[in-house]
Symmetry: C3
Subunit: 192 residues, 3 copies
């Protein structure tokens, strides 16, 4: 099995571990978090280093995924994604076996598709995104890089979500709209 | 494999193609759309005629499905459904293999059940409906003909949705209510 | 197959029957409801007694589940749960084969997990709960006893829902909040 390092050890990381375990392609070798958490474990996987260890860890392990959450600002996830790439990690996309990704859709690197997501025909998802549990990305939609599409969000057909957006849980978009760079969309809202 | 013609070639058609490909019972022979699109292709399937060719096409192909979308008014889908029936097509119901339809539920002709829909016990769906991705139709609900239940809608138990309704994406209904003929329900709303 | 008695014969019971049939571990032997419904059947299963027959029925059948709905108040479901336990029934948890329950999650007795529910890592569900169709319980959430999490609800990460709550259909919660004992949350709302 391929070995993967997880960067960020909070609640979102626990959900990601569950997806990776179910998906079955990667063995989680450990988690990178703050130095003071060294030696702790998260669902049985040890914290084995902090950000400053990424270059050394990249010599041992080929794959990494950013697993800190993204509430509102994408900055922290972008910074870690760039750091991990620079250190030499490959950033795979990981798809829950419970999700459906159309064969006519595209998913870029470092993006995770959580349980029960549907990505429909001709949709495209950028790098380093979280498409969270039960989200729906409809046909012909385009999600650019570093976006968090939260739990139970519905992105309707032909929508463009530009870089670094946060779409709050349960939000629904009108079809064929553009959501600008770094937008923060309120949970539960309908976006027109 | 049975051959099927799709009538209407927009974004909704792409989603339907994805469902039909996954479902695996029908071979798509082509799409009917506006004359000026003749020869174009949609996810690899050619536009082979316009509405005026339906009678001729019915001599070659047994099955058809209405695949234009329905935003608000059902008129265009009703017109095409009647035209296709008159031309002699059989209008099957098509169920995504990702959907769940209770064995205690009923689905009428020309209706498509998209990915990740749930149709619960004793629910009944009429003719020429779209039950769109991730919609939930709860127990004992009745959806009449020519309705579009959009993405991520929840129709709770014992609701009646009369003919020609459009229920906008992400809307939720109270249980045991009646939604009158040709209603247009705002996306994201809670209907009492 | 293990034999199970269902206590309460309304619309929710029909949804539960569908789940139990799909799950395949239990044979439904009958339904307990009001005396005047004796001899009626629900999806083919007979009403074989009322509440006053529970002690006798517990001598014949090992398992029971409370299958009346819970709109707002949990009182009736609590009363029947206590009555059935006192009569000697075992109250199993029942999981739809369409649901996903993380191996890092926990489900207590007498709780039903309906179709297309997701229960994520480190979530925990108490006794005698209904987690209704398409609900999502995110990582690290805690649902205590006698709660009804309605259809299409999203409980985000780290939320605590105390005893006896009713969370209305389609509602979404902010992460890491506490919803107090016996709260009634409006359908379609966003809870902060």
């Amino acid at each position: 099995m391929k070995e993967i390092l997880l960067i960020g050890g909070g609640g979102h990381c626990r959900s990601v571990i569950d997806v990776i375990e179910q998906e079955g392609q990667f063995q989680i070798v450990g988690i990178v978090d703050m130095a003071e958490l060294l030696g702790r474990d998260i669902l049985g996987y040890p914290v084995i280093g902090d950000d400053s260890d990424l270059e050394n860890l990249a010599k041992k392990y080929a794959y990494a995924l950013i697993t800190i959450g993204q509430i509102k600002s994408p900055e922290q996830r972008i910074k870690l994604f760039e750091l991990a790439k620079k250190a030499g990690f490959k950033m795979p996309s990981i798809l829950s076996p419970r999700a459906y990704v159309s064969k006519h859709a595209f998913i870029a690197d470092g993006t995770i598709i959580m349980h029960d997501v549907v990505i429909n025909a001709k949709a495209s998802i950028g790098n380093n995104c979280i498409i969270n549990s039960k989200a729906l990305i409809e046909h012909d939609s385009l999600i650019l890089d570093h976006c968090h599409i939260s739990t139970s969000v519905t992105i309707n057909g032909g929508v463009i979500v530009e870089d670094g957006c946060f779409i709050g849980s349960g939000a629904t978009t009108k079809e064929s709209i553009i959501i600008k760079n770094n937008s923060v969309i309120q949970a539960g809202s309908f976006v027109t």
